[in-house]
Symmetry: D2
Subunit: 209 residues, 4 copies
């Protein structure tokens, strides 16, 4: 396979990119000035050198000069380290950080649990989650927020995590020392009653305030 | 103007219909079998004869043989007549009835209050609403749910109605005898955290449960 | 069924209209001022009284006071009555009249011939077409333009009509006295080479000029 | 700026990619197995080493071991080297090669001429085109096909190139030794008469056959 085809094939695997747009990327690169390709190439190569996975929340973060193995959120003591939001992916964490006025910490599952999945532990970071949750529990964990998407796979993931917490922290959950909570459901910005679906409407009514 | 043009023009005023689709409607009618046009024509003519506006909630309803001036919801004593949801339009009421598992009653404003509107009483049925709310208050009203769309005009309408209630039922609202509530806000069916807007996310966090 | 439901059901049969929009139409009518419904009702009823089907081209047209049974195009002697464009529907004729700078006449098939259709004569006005084409042939017909949509059903219809003409006017077609032509194919306004489909591109190349 | 941000910014410049999708690309890369990033990085770096611009048609092509400076099309003597299609970009050439059954050769302008552009020679490879066209003319050029998109900028580019050819090959064009042609215009695959625009319809009628 020649180099245009080879690169087209690689770009085709990028999320949301088909073969046609992949090819446009290659031609786009071909028209770039000298230096641009070297720059891109180097940045890609450096990515894993400069980015680490946080030992606690498992998100990707930029390494600092110090020897800390924790990201800026997990090592920030002005944040409430006892409120934990569990999200599916790094992009979800980024979105909540940017928009949410949330002052707790996170755990990134790195995926979700499909319905009827036989081996959930292969889809998400389950053993890392267990270690983290036990550690946090020892340090005074108060609340675990299930921050999943509201779609079938997200709901299934939330259900799985909730069951897992009920087992792993049985005493704490039963005694209400650790609270498990779900993101509120109801009208989203832009929702019109005329077009609302039954599940959203029922939640909007139940959660009226 | 000839009759094809005239009918096209009338259909163009239907909600969501442009001149091109209006013209297709006319040609569609021309190809109908005998009787179909007479049937449509008669049904349109009969509409206002058979449909009345409910004296209480102001929604359109099919007249019955009895002399009642109330719709089937307002005259249904198995429903909680002390919980009132205020909606903008009949289609909103229909949607809630169909999907919402709601057992109270309604009031249909017949429109909404645009932002900076000088004469809100011309946009919604304000005097009818006042009469109805005073009557219901005498009969033991417990809760008023503001069932508006979540968009700027819907929010403005909810704000206007809330202010109006605070004045009209000042004593009852202050003493918490009548509660004013809003539909819950948060994740809607299908919402993904990656694409969530800040207002929805903030509400989803605040309303977590 | 009550009158709101009944009218909703009728509007649901209009082209491109689902039950939800049909219901909006009904509520829209309910909010109209007095007189508007009577006006619409009357216009629908009058439609077939004031509109006739042209004896020649079979299109719908507004009847005049005179006794002519031909539409304004078929009776217009400034138009070339020997160039005939065959279209599927009235809306196609309207579109060509509005946009096309075409000075011949038309025949409206009233439909199209689906692929593998066993009884094409039930889908289009075949006997009327035969009569018309024989009459026109006697009057000096020079060209028949197949003005079908470019999609599988349109192509099948064009093929069917072409075969039919080859049989019905065999001598005239063979001797080139009557020419059968197709609308030109190639780039449409807005076509970009990057996204062009193979059939369009082949035609654009073959028909280059 | 950290390395995630830096790479996000670079991907944001890719055609059709916004900052959000660019960020997803970066996270996607972070989850790739070892070796994948090295592979991508190397392929990008190698791109310009292995790809050259054809001395004749100016398209990008994979270098061969021989010393030829011509691409596989320009050096293919089974193709008609006297029929030249001028296209705006490499992707257009790829599309025609894949779909078009075209057996001539190409010239890639590398861009287009915006309407009212003061310095067209900065937008397209005009001097290279002049050299190529003069060389081809000496070798027996018969036809130049203007293979531009049908939109305002494409039409303006075609007009500009046609004027340029009329000047540069004045004698040959006037004597019809070199023919200038445009891709055929008319119905594209999928066009329906009801929705056709006036320009397409006029061309479809004029080019009927």
């Amino acid at each position: 396979m020649n180099s245009i085809e080879k690169l087209t094939r690689i770009f085709s695997e990028f999320p949301g990119i088909g073969p046609r747009q992949a090819r446009r990327f290659v031609y786009f690169l071909l028209t770039r000035q000298n230096g641009a390709l070297e720059d891109l190439s180097k940045n890609i190569l450096d990515l894993k050198k400069q980015v680490a996975v946080c030992d606690d929340c498992m998100r990707f973060y930029e390494k600092k000069h110090d020897k800390s193995k924790l990201c800026s959120i997990c090592s920030d003591h002005t944040r409430d380290q006892n409120i934990l939001m569990i999200v599916q992916r790094d992009v979800d964490l980024t979105s909540v950080e940017k928009n949410g006025n949330f002052n707790g910490i996170y755990f990134v599952l790195g995926g979700s649990v499909p319905i009827l999945e036989k081996e959930p532990e292969k889809k998400i970071r389950l053993s890392e989650f267990k270690n983290f949750i036990l550690k946090k529990n020892n340090e005074g964990l108060k609340e675990v927020i299930l921050g999943m998407n509201w779609n079938p796979e997200g709901e299934n993931t939330a259900q799985f995590i909730e069951n897992f917490l009920n087992k792993t922290l049985e005493k704490e959950v039963t005694s209400n020392k650790v609270k498990i909570s779900h993101l509120g459901k109801g009208l989203s910005m832009g929702t019109e009653l005329e077009y609302i679906d039954p599940d959203t409407l029922r939640n909007a009514l139940r959660n009226r305030n």
